[in-house]
Symmetry: C2
Subunit: 332 residues, 2 copies
DNA sequence: CGTGGCGGTCGAAGCGCTTCGACCTTGTCC
DNA sequence: GGACAAGGTCGAAGCGCTTCGACCGCCACG
């Protein structure tokens, strides 16, 4: 029994007679044989490892990042790959290191800025990569993300349909805008476009993730624009505090203030009242990212370019008809 | 110039003349040469990769886990290692896979239960490992964790010193106790021991991380034991809601209710009022874990066994003398 | 019955490094 | 001045796999 035969049994790259295959598999089982990953990688020029780049930047909400990461790892395992974790602004040099040393076969890059310094590098590297997020110039890149523009539009449309004509976007911390993070910008653009299209007043403000900041931001917002009756939130950690702040300010949700969130469904459903939301399907996005990478690795000349996961809105208990509309109806 | 010479320059395992060294380094720089990781691993029997096992179990607070993970990655990089991410209860089989295939050199295992099924496996694996957390039987293991027993004791002592004699531990979600997670159990034990030693009444209750659960749990707690004036919280995500609940229940912090947390310092300082706390130094623990692993890899016959990071209490604005003591003092 | 083709197996040649022992040079000491 | 040691460098032998081309025996067809 030649070593090569065993190799072919394990990889399935050549046809093997059933008897031989069984004999090999039995022996593998009995001996508890595991191919040496380095030898395999050296000979085959494939490490079966993906790099996952998570820059832990200020203002990013960790549980969401972790949800992406988990989806990436889980999916990678399904395609027989492992995941190397890159963080902490090793940034460019980290990418160069792991790719040029052939430690990994491909890269998943998260938390992408509009003008991300890593993007030019990704174009040069002799290695497939997928971005979770969309930079300004997507030439030659494969990107996947939620369609945040549409997400914001749908929120505005939903509120406008309910009769609200003065609504605000309570966005991410300002640091996230400052560094021009893609998803925050696209949400903002969608919000503005939809507000204009529908002819409603749209105010935007960033918001830091502390109780006091929420209290201050929302307080000022409602003082400056008392007519606001609809809120769109893209900022998971402030959701809890926000509900408290509104309560404290005497605004009932949804009677006095309709509230929409762009967040994971379980987060929306965990609140009281349950929030109408556009879902952020981290699982789905992480999975698709890995699948796109695997396809690239297998040489499928498929779908480069940007894949935007369609926004899906679920109306729950935190939105209702605008107060004016409501009172009109009751007085009618 | 022999390849071996280059290898010796890069590894420093043999002395090289300064001229040769410079010449090699210059060439490496100019050519942008990077050693192939697989070839290196195959020849040297060292992959320079550590596995980090993060089972994302119910009730674990993700940001804290991520803080550990970041510390591990950062420290690993300082020792020229990378980190492979293992999650999603690949559990035992994942450990076997990466170690037997020599994908990694060593293992960091987080979120350890008292009777963790992975522990026997770790003893058998031909590969060093470090646990972040402490199981019941530590024979042959290297563990590192905060001294949660002492942490709880210090909280009780601090409150008792302030004159509180009826205090409660608001613990982790019950799922965490149910699976006998080490840190939760040791905190509980420390709390009970200290309460007994100091002769104060100590009540414990788990708490789920939702606003309603906090409201319910704390409501029932204070109804059943109205005399409680001190609270110890080991459950990061409920800290925000808890402050709101206490406000809603008309208990001022710290005047009516002293509050201690076991959590990261930045979390304690971000609250209003800032919380007296025993710090959970995830950075330090993650770093020490990696350093212990590296030491093992280098064959230092050092410190097996359990390393408990001493608990450090910082008094901030959320604790003060017990109401009775206070009134006694003011009436005196 | 002879021949061509094909499915199945094998041997050997690397993959790109590390490491060992050998070798050469130079300096040092008697 | 010669022998020896130490310091530097080199060549070759692997590390454990994958993969290529060759080979062998079998069946089907002419």
């Amino acid at each position: 029994m030649a070593a090569s035969t065993v190799s072919y049994v394990l990889s399935g790259k050549r046809s093997i007679s059933p008897e031989t295959r069984d004999r090999v598999q039995e022996a593998v089982r009995v001996l508890g044989y595991r191919p040496n990953a380095s030898a395999r990688a050296l000979a085959s020029n494939r490490s079966n490892v993906l790099a996952l780049v998570i820059p832990l930047r200020a203002g990013m909400h960790v549980p969401v990042l972790m949800q992406f990461a988990t989806a990436v790892v889980t999916t990678a395992r399904r395609y027989d790959h492992d995941v190397l974790l890159l963080t902490a602004d090793e940034g460019r040099s980290g990418l160069e290191r792991v790719s040029q040393s052939a430690l990994v076969d491909a890269l998943v890059v998260m938390d992408v800025e509009l003008h991300d310094e890593r993007v030019p590098l990704l174009r040069e590297l002799p290695m497939p990569s997928v971005l979770i997020g969309v930079p300004a110039d997507t030439e030659g890149l494969t990107c996947i993300d939620l369609d945040f523009f549409a997400a914001a539009e749908q929120c505005v449309d939903h509120l406008t349909d309910l009769g609200h004509h003065s609504i605000a976007l309570l966005g991410t911390p300002s640091a996230v805008y400052a560094r021009q993070t893609g998803f925050a910008h696209r949400t903002l653009a969608g919000f503005q476009a939809a507000a204009e299209r529908r002819g409603v007043m749209g105010i935007e403000t960033p918001c830091e993730p502390t109780f006091d900041a929420v209290l201050g931001t929302v307080g000022e917002l409602l003082e400056a624009h008392p007519g606001i009756t609809g809120l769109v939130v893209q900022n998971e950690p402030i959701i809890g505090p926000l509900l408290d702040v509104l309560r404290r300010l005497g605004r009932r949700v949804p009677e006095d203030m309709s509230l929409m969130a762009i967040c994971a469904d379980d987060v929306a459903e965990r609140q009281v009242p349950q929030l109408s939301s556009v879902t952020l399907p981290a699982d789905e996005i992480g999975q698709q990212a890995v699948e796109a990478l695997i396809a690239k690795l297998e040489g499928h000349r498929t779908s480069a370019g940007v894949t935007l996961v369609p926004a899906r809105l679920t109306a729950r208990a935190s939105t209702c008809a605008a107060p004016e509309a409501h009172s009109e109806r009751t007085t009618a």
